[in-house]
Symmetry: C2
Subunit: 176 residues, 2 copies
């Protein structure tokens, strides 16, 4: 994994891919699939996300205030579906689905080696957690796997259907 400048983090999440969210509590790591996330600031990068009270990860995220957002490419799609269809209450999903943990540098939850990007995050605002389960995160450290060239991300349309990145188009832009 190679460090990614924090100024480029938004380019990973702005397109809206499904991500994997890792947490750790009482020395046990867990992972969930998440699509309800968005950038809210470029640099330092801040992210808003919804983690439901129904998710086993909720308690760990709220109590530890730490997580890793890992971005999977197309080749991990079936594992992402498996992660989304199971709960850390019942199984160790890393072991069950063959996902490889790596230690993070700034937080306790693990990176996922199989993902092409990993973002180490801390919770910075919980004002909207009680009403919407909405957490505000700051990205402290970002990693990219240089071995995964031009990864295609996957975008959840509901009920296990995903759109994979296809054609890439470019326009002159004044936008960041």
């Amino acid at each position: 994994m190679r460090a990614l400048p924090l100024s480029k983090v938004y380019q990973l999440l702005e397109p809206g891919p499904v991500v994997l969210l890792t947490t750790a509590r009482k020395r046990r790591a867990n992972v969930m699939a998440m699509s309800w996330h968005m950038m809210i600031e470029f640099e330092p990068p801040q992210v808003a996300c919804v983690v439901s009270t129904n998710d086993y990860s909720f308690a760990a995220l709220r109590s530890t205030g730490e997580c890793v957002i890992a971005v999977p490419a197309r080749k991990l799609a079936s594992k992402v579906a498996d992660v989304g269809n199971s709960s850390g209450r019942d199984i160790d999903k890393f072991e069950a689905f063959g996902l490889t943990k790596l230690p993070a540098s700034r937080v306790a939850p693990p990176l996922i080696a199989d993902c092409f990007a990993n973002l180490e995050c801390k919770v910075t605002d919980m004002r909207l957690v009680s009403k919407y389960n909405l957490f505000i995160l700051e990205v402290l450290k970002a990693w990219i796997d240089p071995a995964q060239k031009n990864p295609k991300t996957i975008h959840h349309r509901g009920y296990g259907t995903f759109a994979v990145d296809g054609e890439i188009i470019r326009f002159k832009s004044r936008m960041r």
Copy 2:
């Protein structure tokens, strides 16, 4: 335009497409491109989004509390880039880029006839506006254009580069 059940709205935004946001103030409509949005509740559908104080739409959204989220398909990509590269301070973007306004049923901002889906929204929570420019919206009414079959959406990667939906893959799912 045909009414879309509110229970299906999340399937439009969860994949993370670029959308167009319309507002109206003093009888003048405006439109901006927006990628920083996410679902936060299924039904009634609620959406969080970031509209910057730099955006001309900010004042209209904050003062009127109403907007329309319109979802463009691939064929509108160059117009989406044009909308993102210009400001309602300077021009009437509907006229400049040939986007067709339609009256909405529940809010003053217009639908965009060229888009395959339109969501009429009201602002329901502004607690995080001052700190993050983050608005909470409720979708009051949703429309879909049945003439646009299997629309491919576009996902902004920064600086005018977009990934277009490609392959669609399906897995058995317990997820909604």
